[in-house]
């Protein structure tokens, strides 16, 4: 097909993708007295919306730290050490990545309830500290690094922890960037588990709070709702505009392979 035609069709696709989003922003800005940020101010102050924001940030930060640390440890161990049955365990873990998590929804809820952790940051973070997909990514990456540096460090008498955190860790930057992107996005947008594991408004994350806002008994108007939606998407969109190439690469890395 001629390049000009392809460009025109792509431009039409661009409009189809961008139009609903632009419309969402337009609705959030159009108030009774002209274009203003009034809805934004009101939705932010409408009870716990600022709290949702803080919750989302705290939860994402804890889950990110856990994944960077623990997945690196496990991924490195699976890549470098001979563990009896290690390969089998790794394959089993791998096969659970794609299984629907809904299967553990009810039992996890019962578990958290019995432990008295419903409505706490514990419930929102503990189960998500180590994502097997991240272990897989890190293991694959470590396998492609030559062992020379580690051997040299070992010769110098470095312990295994020193080798991992001083020698290997700095070399993992590219894959850790992918892990960070994948973890932050998944967590920031996560709905089902935070929805089930919290009851009170003060512990909701942004997506859950937003969904609740739309179905409350005194359901609010669309202008405020769209302002809330824009606010909740803002950090992600900002990060996307800055790290666009990294993010696209990172989120399609595990997929196209």
């Amino acid at each position: 097909m001629m390049r000009g035609v392809r460009f025109v069709v792509l431009a039409a696709v661009l409009v189809a993708m961008a139009y609903p989003l632009a419309w969402m922003i337009a609705i959030s800005l159009k108030t009774a007295d002209g274009v203003s940020l009034r809805y934004y101010g009101e939705v932010w102050q409408s009870g716990p919306f600022d709290r949702y924001f803080v919750n989302s940030f705290v939860v994402a930060a804890i889950v990110l730290a856990g994944n960077l640390l623990f997945c690196t440890m496990a991924g490195y161990a699976f890549a470098r050490y001979r563990i009896r049955g290690g390969k089998l365990v790794f394959l089993l873990v791998l096969s659970t990545i794609m299984l629907p998590k809904q299967v553990i929804l009810v039992p996890l809820y019962i578990l958290m309830q019995r432990m008295g952790l419903i409505d706490t940051y514990w419930a929102l973070t503990l189960p998500f500290l180590v994502d097997p997909f991240n272990i897989f990514l890190i293991r694959q990456y470590v396998s492609t690094i030559p062992t020379d540096c580690e051997e040299a460090a070992r010769m110098d008498g470095a312990g295994e922890f020193t080798i991992l955190f001083r020698v290997v860790f700095p070399m993992l930057k590219p894959v850790l960037a992918v892990v960070a992107i994948h973890t932050c996005l998944t967590n920031w947008n996560s709905f089902l588990f935070p929805f089930i594991l919290t009851h009170s408004a003060s512990m909701r994350t942004l997506p859950v709070g937003l969904a609740m806002l739309s179905q409350g008994a005194h359901s609010i108007d669309w202008g405020h709702l769209m302002a809330g939606a824009v606010v909740s998407a803002l950090p992600v969109v900002a990060a996307f505009l800055v790290f666009q190439r990294r993010i696209i690469g990172g989120l399609t890395a595990g997929m196209s392979k």
Partner: protein, 296 residues
């Protein structure tokens, strides 16, 4: 070397411990527990009366019209969205071939919906489909009467499906585009020299070489689509008249609104089984490719 590695087993144990603890407590244990739950009559408000009911929960599944409806809707959703999304994604990926002005902007716009929360997208489209929403306003411009897209049982599910295609197509287009960059340009030049048209080029160059990537996209999207829930919860709550009730929506209803944990576990296993089949196919498709040793 092997010997020394055997000796340093303790550090390995430490490396694996945090993952193993979290995985055991919050995945393996609930997973096993869910299997046990499926054989119990378990009401959280009356735990003392928990009884073993054998396979009664499973038997109930077959005589449950609400489950049948949810299963039918979910299959309709998967069958109606996945092929359309894949075909459109293929088309868009094909358009992005070679040097195109503003390619970065196209990619960004295509990718944007996949970084947004499904809640945001669902709210946006709930308003889009609303009686006074953008869709009806646009239709009015053509003299077409407005329609309650989400309140008519005939159009509610298709409306949600259309939204899903909109939200998913860009991501898969980018994935397929990434896979397509591995096709050498010389093949396209050769096809052009032979006088092959757009369709012939697609049919004989792009499609055969993209087959593994297409298969993978199909499988991943199918697994994801079997779990459709947030859209339904935000937009229709499964209504009107159960016309958008999906398996996971029904699972949520059974567990957290009717507090029937045992039966909910059985419904969960239905979702599990359906997508488990596709996971196995996905793994099969993946294996020969990873064997080629392409790093991440």
């Amino acid at each position: 070397m092997t010997n020394r590695r055997r000796f340093v087993l303790p550090p390995v144990a430490w490396f694996l411990l945090p993952w193993a603890a979290v995985y055991a407590a919050f995945f393996v244990f609930p997973f096993v527990f869910s299997f046990v739950l499926a054989f119990l009559d378990y009401n959280p408000l009356n735990v003392a009366n928990t009884r073993f009911v054998g396979t009664a929960n499973f038997a109930r599944l077959f005589g449950d019209p609400a489950f049948g409806g949810a299963l039918r809707n979910t299959i309709l959703f998967v069958v109606g969205t996945v092929p359309v999304t894949t075909a459109l994604a293929l088309g868009v990926a094909g358009l992005m071939r070679g040097k195109i002005p503003l390619k970065g902007a196209f990619k960004a716009a295509l990718f944007l919906p996949s970084i947004l929360s499904v809640v945001v997208i669902a709210l946006l489209f709930k308003l889009f489909y609303a009686p006074g929403g953008a869709l009806n306003q646009a239709l009015a411009g053509f003299g077409v009467a407005g329609h309650g897209w989400l309140t008519d049982p005939r159009t509610a599910l298709p409306a949600i499906m259309a939204m899903d295609v909109w939200a998913a197509v860009g991501y898969y287009a980018i994935v397929l585009d990434a896979a397509r960059t591995s096709i050498p340009d010389s093949l396209y030049e050769a096809a052009e020299l032979e006088g092959a048209g757009a369709w012939a080029t697609f049919r004989h160059v792009t499609f055969p070489l993209l087959k593994p990537a297409i298969a993978f996209v199909l499988v991943i999207n199918t697994i994801r689509s079997f779990q459709v829930f947030v859209e339904v919860l935000v937009m229709t709550q499964g209504g009107p008249l159960g016309s958008t009730n999906t398996l996971v929506m029904y699972l949520y209803d059974t567990a957290f609104r009717r507090l029937d944990y045992g039966y909910a576990s059985v419904v969960a296993y239905a979702v599990f089984l359906l997508s488990g089949v596709f996971s196995i196919i996905a793994m099969r498709r993946l294996r020969p490719e990873t064997a080629e040793g392409r790093p991440i």
